[in-house]
Symmetry: D4
Subunit: 253 residues, 8 copies
Amino acid sequence: MHDNNIKRLLNDIKSGQIDVDEAYAKLRDLPFTELGFAKVDNHRALRKGFPEVIYCEGKTAEQVRVIAASILERGSALLATRAERGAFDAVSSICSDAVYHETARVIAVDRRPQEASVGFVAVLSAGTADVPVAEEAVITAEMLGARVERVFDVGVAGLHRLLAFHEMLVSAKVIVVVAGMDGALPSVVGGLVSCPVIAVPTSIGYGAHFGGLAPLLTMLNSCATGVAVVNIDNGFGAGYMAALINQIGEDER
Amino acid sequence: MHDNNIKRLLNDIKSGQIDVDEAYAKLRDLPFTELGFAKVDNHRALRKGFPEVIYCEGKTAEQVRVIAASILERGSALLATRAERGAFDAVSSICSDAVYHETARVIAVDRRPQEASVGFVAVLSAGTADVPVAEEAVITAEMLGARVERVFDVGVAGLHRLLAFHEMLVSAKVIVVVAGMDGALPSVVGGLVSCPVIAVPTSIGYGAHFGGLAPLLTMLNSCATGVAVVNIDNGFGAGYMAALINQIGEDER
Amino acid sequence: MHDNNIKRLLNDIKSGQIDVDEAYAKLRDLPFTELGFAKVDNHRALRKGFPEVIYCEGKTAEQVRVIAASILERGSALLATRAERGAFDAVSSICSDAVYHETARVIAVDRRPQEASVGFVAVLSAGTADVPVAEEAVITAEMLGARVERVFDVGVAGLHRLLAFHEMLVSAKVIVVVAGMDGALPSVVGGLVSCPVIAVPTSIGYGAHFGGLAPLLTMLNSCATGVAVVNIDNGFGAGYMAALINQIGEDER
Amino acid sequence: MHDNNIKRLLNDIKSGQIDVDEAYAKLRDLPFTELGFAKVDNHRALRKGFPEVIYCEGKTAEQVRVIAASILERGSALLATRAERGAFDAVSSICSDAVYHETARVIAVDRRPQEASVGFVAVLSAGTADVPVAEEAVITAEMLGARVERVFDVGVAGLHRLLAFHEMLVSAKVIVVVAGMDGALPSVVGGLVSCPVIAVPTSIGYGAHFGGLAPLLTMLNSCATGVAVVNIDNGFGAGYMAALINQIGEDER
Amino acid sequence: MHDNNIKRLLNDIKSGQIDVDEAYAKLRDLPFTELGFAKVDNHRALRKGFPEVIYCEGKTAEQVRVIAASILERGSALLATRAERGAFDAVSSICSDAVYHETARVIAVDRRPQEASVGFVAVLSAGTADVPVAEEAVITAEMLGARVERVFDVGVAGLHRLLAFHEMLVSAKVIVVVAGMDGALPSVVGGLVSCPVIAVPTSIGYGAHFGGLAPLLTMLNSCATGVAVVNIDNGFGAGYMAALINQIGEDER
Amino acid sequence: MHDNNIKRLLNDIKSGQIDVDEAYAKLRDLPFTELGFAKVDNHRALRKGFPEVIYCEGKTAEQVRVIAASILERGSALLATRAERGAFDAVSSICSDAVYHETARVIAVDRRPQEASVGFVAVLSAGTADVPVAEEAVITAEMLGARVERVFDVGVAGLHRLLAFHEMLVSAKVIVVVAGMDGALPSVVGGLVSCPVIAVPTSIGYGAHFGGLAPLLTMLNSCATGVAVVNIDNGFGAGYMAALINQIGEDER
Amino acid sequence: MHDNNIKRLLNDIKSGQIDVDEAYAKLRDLPFTELGFAKVDNHRALRKGFPEVIYCEGKTAEQVRVIAASILERGSALLATRAERGAFDAVSSICSDAVYHETARVIAVDRRPQEASVGFVAVLSAGTADVPVAEEAVITAEMLGARVERVFDVGVAGLHRLLAFHEMLVSAKVIVVVAGMDGALPSVVGGLVSCPVIAVPTSIGYGAHFGGLAPLLTMLNSCATGVAVVNIDNGFGAGYMAALINQIGEDER
Amino acid sequence: MHDNNIKRLLNDIKSGQIDVDEAYAKLRDLPFTELGFAKVDNHRALRKGFPEVIYCEGKTAEQVRVIAASILERGSALLATRAERGAFDAVSSICSDAVYHETARVIAVDRRPQEASVGFVAVLSAGTADVPVAEEAVITAEMLGARVERVFDVGVAGLHRLLAFHEMLVSAKVIVVVAGMDGALPSVVGGLVSCPVIAVPTSIGYGAHFGGLAPLLTMLNSCATGVAVVNIDNGFGAGYMAALINQIGEDER
């Protein structure tokens, strides 16, 4: 459509319906979304089916409902993170197929044809308290088209629990590791596997944990290679990143 | 080979050459490298040809030479980061095909058959002062088999410089963004492209920069999706991570 | 009036109604507001019509009402920031023309003849969550006599939204940029325009955001020139500063 | 010139020398500097004569010389900050009219017709140790066309020194206040004047000063209105910002 | 009494009622309060009449009542800080002459003959929001025998308010300065007077104030001499310290 | 039992009931708990009778009940820390001999034959406000088999209180020192005794205490030897560590 | 003299030699040093003989010499802190009676009649490494007229060393306590004595000491009353403060 | 000897050579070293043969020599940490049997009869760069009588290296774990063994490592039980603590 706008303008010049100076002025005035970088944005949505995402914190249930309605008008998928049940109720009222993932605090609507990826994302959590953040990563990655395997409660203080999943870990295409407390799990996992590891520190802990600063620093200083880090409690960001990586090469398969 | 060891033991039990208690004790005493997770390590080296890496900071030139000799005995590639020229001279004395990347402060030896990847890694730097870290990422990614495109000095304060490379950026399989100062570049890049972005804060700056803390926090709080972060000045880690991601799907092509 | 006090004293000396020692003692005892620097304060209020401002946080509705009454007795404008609705109700009870700007949490009364400035202040917000701080800047600047244009939700992760307002931004006399998360917007704006930019970090974010520390550091380290920073969430301070700058040269026009 | 490029293209369409699809493709391929925001950059340099600035820290004398040569080819002014004498010697060798401001560590070349601004910038320093940063602000502001008045060593612990300059301060169009130690001076100055104040914390201090963090926080929390802050030791940034503000309305005078 | 215990022992040795070895053993077994440093504690209470102080935060009203009862049994004065009204009601029930200083959140009982000190402590607050901490200092100093003068709301952004009290400030024996926000007041006061200044940062502020860290650092870095600092919001500590200093030389007068 | 599993397999090989390849596959498939490091875990529980511990923070009463039931099925002791009364009520409903230590917020069940250790752990607290953390250490150490002596409210500002317990302190096998505020007690205790000291900073304090950071740093910088530190408020960790140390040599006695 | 200036003006009005408007203008133009607060500064120097102090860090030997010369012209005492031997040599060249206190890095000249105070300041250091800061406090206090007693190397890890000086400590009028490492000494001293204690943290330590932050926080959180704190390594500030306090009541004696 | 002093005094009372008041005064004047806690100090040295330790940082070689001489006069062992070779040369000149441990930077003299402990301390290092700190722990523990086993370069990124030592680790009486970078090793080790673990963070790392803060926080937040932490780089403290623990029960064996 945007292309049509520009082409129509060029055709109008050719046909003499508009003169060059006027056309030049119009070109300069075209809203920026008419240009390349803006189109990328739209193109991405079309090609990958990645839904726009609502970050619910600080928004009223009503506001979430309105934004959700606008997104669902234009597309067939909806992802809303950090959503309380009230927000879900509001979305449900306009969309009966909305699903509420309570632990992850995520609202999801997905009306696209379902097709699991060949490769998969493994999502690990060190403790049970880290599960909500891990679940946010799981749902996000799934909404973005990735097959996901959960491996929860495998902290390094009981190493055998982690090692029991060794076989599966080395098969993953990318691994998300969620850990609070000392944040040591990504270093150990990064040493066991050869795929990329996305580390997510959580705010689970107390005292000199400083709201997640401790595991964040641990992860940034990981002595294993192939580890990158997202913000504290940012399960969404990790799931998104993992799905992007997992998507690579899927089309060729 | 390891498997053979274990199987031989089991055969010895069967044939009665060793009794059960003795065999049991031997099983417990097998060095851990006989087990699955250890083998992975070797397997990875064989399959991917990823060289072991020497971190030179705090090591004497002599120490670097000795480790390098040991690595080259077992393999056909060598990567040494944070290397001063003295370390390079020492390595050169035992290995005439060593190359010194001065800006990146990296020593590299590569005797493997060269084959460029189909996909490529774009490495961006915000300022000229960030180039050494960016170069470390470039050399590391190349040593790990990735084709790399450099896009240097494209900080956000002169947006047109970055936007001029838009076409190339959207073609990259993964992008490394190196930035000191305000660390704003990864957010802008992450908003322009749909591939994974690895952000590297640098210690370039002064005052309330606090040795790279400022861009580190900026990057962790990036409002763009698909951005993960490595440690301050960790060009090596970013290049390694990017090469892992770039490698995905290459085999199928 | 103060000048009159002093002059009357000097006249009394001349006329012999008071002797020198007594006059000298009185001069020393004059409340300091009689002296130069204090007069500046009053002079400024007279000349610019800048209202005294009530910071409501930590004050009861009743306290706000009393202070507001005292200000309105002496002048024709009132600005109260960080005001809850209760405070507004209290002020309304004594002043029916008070207006409550709910998003900005600002109470305003303005009985002065309205006259828009020729130049204008552009107030930008990166996200919708930053709008309350941006609105505080808007109302403050308007109360101080500035014409204001709002450009909200133009964060750098969707660059085209910002660039669509390019024309307007280069026409502004001064720009206030409000941003939480990564705080990258002022650097980009500062690179696009040649007027002064006042950057306001907000406490909007989570994890390694540390209550606004992340965008604060980003902004202090901005690689763009012509950027200065105010305290986290200090929309009032930014609006005030911007109005001071916008006022320059208005009289000559 | 850029405009000509685009107009020529439009004319070519009109004349039929190029068809619409081809023209559309070319429009998309135009380097970004062809567009509005890029032109701003050039336009600003032309209109204001603000020289491009070299930040010398981390650059060799030779590198500074090369960049300086390139700038002087295109323009008639040069500003290089954080320059050691060696860098000056290198620049001098290609440009005999270069001046070295030793205290400010600034190299300046100015071949433009000199014309003092009507308004002026007052640059204050709290202590003698803050003078180098203050001088950097002075030279920068002057290079950007501002008339500057220096008021040095007027820290708040000896208030009378500051108050003696009261008359001059209230005449300034904008004030730069440079202070290390407790950083209290901008609050006091901000309370005395009604013009904008740009506060610059310096790294001068010891102990719980933490490299300038103490005065930085003081200034961000200033209880005076009309105060904004730049990075620690960023005399250049403050001088630049002050000159931008001082420039407002100058043309009308 | 303790002295009597020891002397009786020595007398018993002299009279032969106890032999040397037994006496030696008893001397070693004397509870430590029998020794010098312990006695100091008691001696101080007797000589100065300084009451033991209850820090109420984290204690139930009932607990405060019990401790208060025990203190009043042994003495004639009671000071309880950070006390909510509930605690006061509990104390009132056993002690009808208890007074509740609401702003300071202090409970006080004083049954000693009242006698004002000759010298006096001036307690200053920068803003009205700092008054509760300042009042805690005032009541504490008064309970410890000092005459106190209050000078509230004299922040540096309106310097004339402070200077109007110049005469009184130079007469004070010691000054307590309470300030939140930028914490600049002690530096200015320290420059005006020659007596000791006790600076108290408060947690009043927002954003980069970090709960009082900003004024704390300001005060520790004060460029005025004769300034020492107590903990954030520690009005009690400042009042206590000031009273100790004010007490010096009082006896000789 | 696990050993039996492996030995049975080996015997089956010997007897020909299973062939070597099949046995080898089974060995690889054995859950990791069959291997050495995993067995340690079980062995430790059997040998020392240390109960598994529930950290209740962030768990519902129901969740605590379920986990507690599962632990009590397998063993004869239960320890649950940071437990509110609701959690205790839930546990009581399935286990009438559960005890709630209110101050320590600990639920304990102990059905093992009781036997006090010969050596003992001394647990000191600096202030009364530190007692809950100290009590958590006490109960934990007792559950792990240690005899414990409490010495509470012996902060360094009243040194005689501490010194009165000198005799007992030098008899302890290991000492836990719990302190908030300035955290100075472990340094003093560490200088008085020759046994190991485990220091526990608490979050008790205000202002520049920063949630326990102040005493944490004090303790890490202790000028006494033989002092190690656990996390802020981690009474459980200190009690556990102390009991481990106290257990050494007990068997030989 | 200043008073005379003002009175002369008033007399001139009376005598009609100057008219009221002109007199009023002159009053406004009087340099601020003519007013009360400025006079204080001079008055203090006259009355107390407290010398102006040179902070040598960042000044050349030559600069120190010039300032010293200017001070000695106007007075009979000189104090220069943080002085290297080179600075001393420069001062010696113009003033043969200058003394260099090497440990304290202080240059002192004192040509005033010597008279020891009746009361005295005790200066304590925890470790031998803290002695330079302690000596700076000693020399400063002595230059300001105080009698000083040194008590060095009495850290809390060997309590008996401190307690041996108990008698002397309780006789002091004010105590300066210098401590690095854990900074615990002021709390212990503050509990032993009833006079004011000025605590000085030092940068002596390593690891989590963070350049003196650890003892600074310890001291601010001291659980003893009557303790105030100066900046890290600020022996000068502590000695100055102590001398101010010690001076109180001396005149009456 | 001290006891004799006191007894002689008591005898003098008995014999009438001194009267009670005089004796009482003398008792109060006895230096504190006459009392119990001081004697403990000496007693410990006698009983355990633990040498006094010299911390050489900031001391001249000459100073170290003098202190060493004084220690060796009174005893048969010497330990000096953070010693440069110059200090060793100085000590050698007075003591030919001094040994210099270069990696650990420790000077040791030991003339006591050698006797290895039955139990042993395992000292682990994560990387080769952590070895100097680990060696300081080793030498310290050995000087204090412990048998030590070194397990170096067993970081968690190559888990098999650590697990290969599993057998030995579970036999240790106490384990010291030295780690820089992410500091994850103590958590893994703490999960494998049931003995106490002393964790030592090192300053080895870069970027967001902040001089050891990262591994320090990791270790304080360890999710394994039985882990306590000493200061960054404090190998001496860890070795000392480990030796104290290892000593327990040795006498009974």
